[in-house]
Amino acid sequence: MAVLEAIALAKFYGSVPAVRDVTFRLEPGHVLGYLGPNGSGKSTTVKMLTGLLQPTRGQVLFEGQDIQDDLVSYRKRLGYVPEEANLYPFLTGEEYLEMIGTLRAMSPNRMKTKISSLLELFSLFAHRHVSLGSYSKGMRQRILLIAALMDNPDVLILDEPLSGLDVTSVLIFKNLIQAFSARGKAVFYCSHILEVVEKVCSQLLILRKGEVIAYGSTEEVRQWIGQSSLERIFLQLVEDADVTQVANEIVDAVVSPS
């Protein structure tokens, strides 16, 4: 049974469609890679999946139930890492996580244990009493990851989670996603970094101008397009322009005397 399911999901702003007829199923133990160029509707889909936006049409089902029926219960079992780490600069890292844990109704003892161990594992324990205003971008992103993971969610939704992370953190993150899904958790992974998506995702969904143009297991999509690398698949399906030609035109514009 799918833990998370989107059925004919659509969002219109006035008469302008942002997303049209997006349908997919995410089962426990799977990682769904959600790809698309800028403005293709990825973030809008993520907002609908987390219940931040109401779809104009269609439904998001969690274990067969419409999430809008009981958003609070659904969010209790959801972990979400937003694209931007917009945190409170006057709170320390530990205070922020305690606040999130309390709002998630975690018991104080469990919360404290989880926070300490996760801060240690994400190399932030030494900075736990430092205000978030002094954190680097990568440190803030790690705080968001801890906040999403600390209550053992059944579904993890990641919206560009790697921005600002250093090489070691990215490597840890890739393995973390695989290990997390191996424990029966479902991960919805929205990203631009094709190399990571290729490595960690068992399913792919490619979006273009708000519509699904490819959906299936990573192997199925590869066979269907007849390309071996995800980069080539992406270019073939999504990009209209020849990227080499565009790059040459940019350099021409830069070096031209006028």
């Binding site: 702003y13 936006l53 937003p82 780490a85 917009n86």
Partner: protein, 580 residues
């Protein structure tokens, strides 16, 4: 005893960890620390310092009351029959105005942090917390903060003012009645101001399209600040009129909220049967109730309209800015901005001043101060038979452009010290020579174009219309000369690109600068207009300004020359604001 303590501590901990309490505390923290973006270098003084600053005006004025109402001083003055309920009316009025002004200033300062914003949305809405909890927590935080600030702003006057006035009269009931009347009135007037500002802000957010809200709110805050300063400035004029005792005057001044709350004091002091006081007291209570009601309705509507729809606004994106009218830019580029670096820096500074909320607020606050002081100066000079076109021109009328110029120049100069995102200052580090004069050249051009650019033609026009061309010429020439000297004084030790350094540290000579600025204001608002009047009368007097002007410039240049080279080098301070 210890078990009680432990039990209370444990209960408090449990209570403090409830999600709704936690959210309220966080939202109150956001209102205190500001709603700026992460990484923005906002001035954060901390809660303790802010509370001390807020309590200071009330404390200082209350202490002055001991000097005014001390029993020995009254005895020496020969005030034998002393009725505190009548004698203190002007001071009570001033306390009410002061309390309203401080409360209003805080509410205007924290205008952008009152309502839940994008950051609250991003952090909480995906959690298992209902929107109702967020709504109620923020509402509770607003009211809790209103109550706290109301008490803090007035706490000294609650205690000190009644003791100073009736402490020596030996009657506890009298002291209690006086203190109760005073405390209730100043507290409610303070709360009224907070709530009125919240209501205004919420109504604006609920009515205006989200894209226009921020821009419109800057100008509305300017208008509110103008009204606030006007009430504060007229308090010295209104107080003696009120002490005259004529009830009719209370009705004539019945449009002032401060007078409603003064009437409330009178009612609480035992004059409630008076029909004038009763009517104004009713007005105070109805207004307070209305402010509370409207603020709750406006908050509810703005929450539904703005907060709940934040993700939709994020997807739609902001409106593109309209292109400014190109003619002034072309003129400036061809005259004072021929150098490319000057041109780039000038555009950065002028756009920041016009588009950044924090910077525009400072400049507008000083403009409002200038306008109110100018209006008050004219008002003070006004008397029956006063003629605007009389020769020689009145000093009060002549002083208007000088007051405006002084306030505007000082406001812009202070705005230069408020940092923008400091991590973006690398671009200036790459391009501006560290030992050059460029920072002063740029700052000078901004100061001059933003003040004299519009004040000079206005000054010339209104002087010509009122007193003729020759007077207009003298008045305008002296305005340009004095403003130019003041600009040089302001930039004497200036050595940074505006907005690219952190807040300046508080130094031991900072109070001295404050006194110097006040003295400078007196020179600009009183002595220079008097000299202009003398020049207009004598015709040849204006010539004396030429050597004074030249000597001032030469003196300032010499002072700058003898400064050490290291004191003139361009600086980029990047320490956080906590060093303030």
């Amino acid at each position: 005893m210890n078990s009680w303590k432990h039990s209370l501590t444990a209960r408090w901990k449990d209570y403090a960890q409830r999600p709704s309490v936690l959210l309220s505390r966080l939202f109150a923290g956001r209102m205190f620390h500001g709603g700026g973006e992460l990484g923005a270098d906002e001035l954060d003084l901390g809660m303790g310092v802010v509370l001390i600053f807020l309590a200071m005006p009330g404390t200082l004025v209350s202490l002055l009351m001991f000097e005014k109402y001390g029993s020995l001083i009254r005895f020496l003055r020969g005030d034998g029959t002393f009725d505190p309920y009548i004698a203190t009316i002007p001071d009570e009025y001033f306390f009410i105005v002061l309390s309203m002004s401080v409360s209003c200033a805080v509410a205007l300062w924290r205008w952008n942090s009152i309502f839940p914003d994008r950051r609250d949305y991003a952090n909480f809405v995906h959690l298992p917390v209902s929107l109702t909890s967020i709504f109620l927590a923020n509402l509770f935080a607003i009211f809790a903060l209103t109550a706290l600030l109301t008490v803090v702003v007035n706490v000294s006057s609650f205690v000190l003012f009644p003791i100073a006035v009736v402490g020596s009269q030996g009657s506890f009931s009298r002291l209690f009645r006086f203190a109760f009347g005073h405390a209730v009135s100043v507290s409610l007037s303070s709360a009224f101001c907070f709530l009125a500002i919240f209501a205004l802000s919420g109504a604006l957010m609920a009515c205006l399209p989200f894209r226009f809200y921020r821009k419109a709110s800057v100008y509305l805050r300017f208008a509110v600040a103008l009204c606030l300063l006007a009430v504060l400035a007229t308090s010295f004029t209104v107080s003696p009129i009120l002490s005259g005792g004529s009830k009719l005057i209370y009705l004539r001044l019945g449009g002032f909220p401060s007078v409603w709350f003064l009437a409330l004091t009178e009612t609480l002091w035992g004059n409630g049967s008076d029909v004038y006081f009763a009517s104004l007291t009713r007005r105070a209570m109805v207004s307070l109730g209305l402010a509370l009601l409207v603020s709750i309705i406006a908050y509810t509507l703005s929450f539904r309209r703005s907060f709940v729809r934040i993700p939709e606004f994020a997807d739609v994106g902001p409106l593109p800015r309209s292109r400014p009218f190109p003619l002034p830019a072309v003129f400036l580029d061809a005259t004072i901005l021929r150098d490319a670096k000057l041109r780039a820096c000038y555009r950065f500074i002028s756009r920041t001043l016009l588009r950044s909320d924090a910077h525009l607020q400072i400049v507008l606050a000083f403009v409002a101060l200038g306008l109110v002081v100018a209006a008050q100066t004219v008002n003070t000079a006004y008397h029956p038979g006063f003629s605007f076109t009389a020769q020689p021109p009145s000093v009060a009328l002549l002083s208007i452009p000088y007051i405006l110029s002084y306030c505007l120049l000082l406001g812009i100069r202070l705005a230069f010290e408020v940092p923008l995102d400091l991590s973006a200052n690398w671009i200036f580090k790459l391009w501006i020579e560290p030992d050059g004069e460029q920072p002063r050249q740029i700052a000078r051009r901004v100061l001059v174009t933003f003040s004299l650019g519009w004040l000079t033609p206005l000054c010339f026009l209104y002087s010509a219309l009122l007193w003729g061309w020759l007077t207009a010429l003298i008045q305008t020439a002296i305005l340009i000369a004095c403003s130019a000297v003041f600009v040089e004084v302001l930039l004497l030790k200036f050595r940074k690109i505006p907005f690219t350094c952190s807040y300046p540290a508080f130094e031991s000579n900072s109070p001295l600068f404050l006194v110097a600025y006040l003295a400078g204001f007196v020179v600009f608002a009183v002595y220079i207009p008097q000299s202009v009047q003398w020049s207009v009368v004598t015709r040849w007097g204006a010539v004396i300004f030429i050597p004074v002007f030249l000597l001032s410039l030469v003196g300032l240049r010499q002072f700058r020359k003898q400064m050490l080279a290291m004191d003139k080098q361009l600086i980029f301070e990047e320490d956080s604001a906590s060093g303030f």
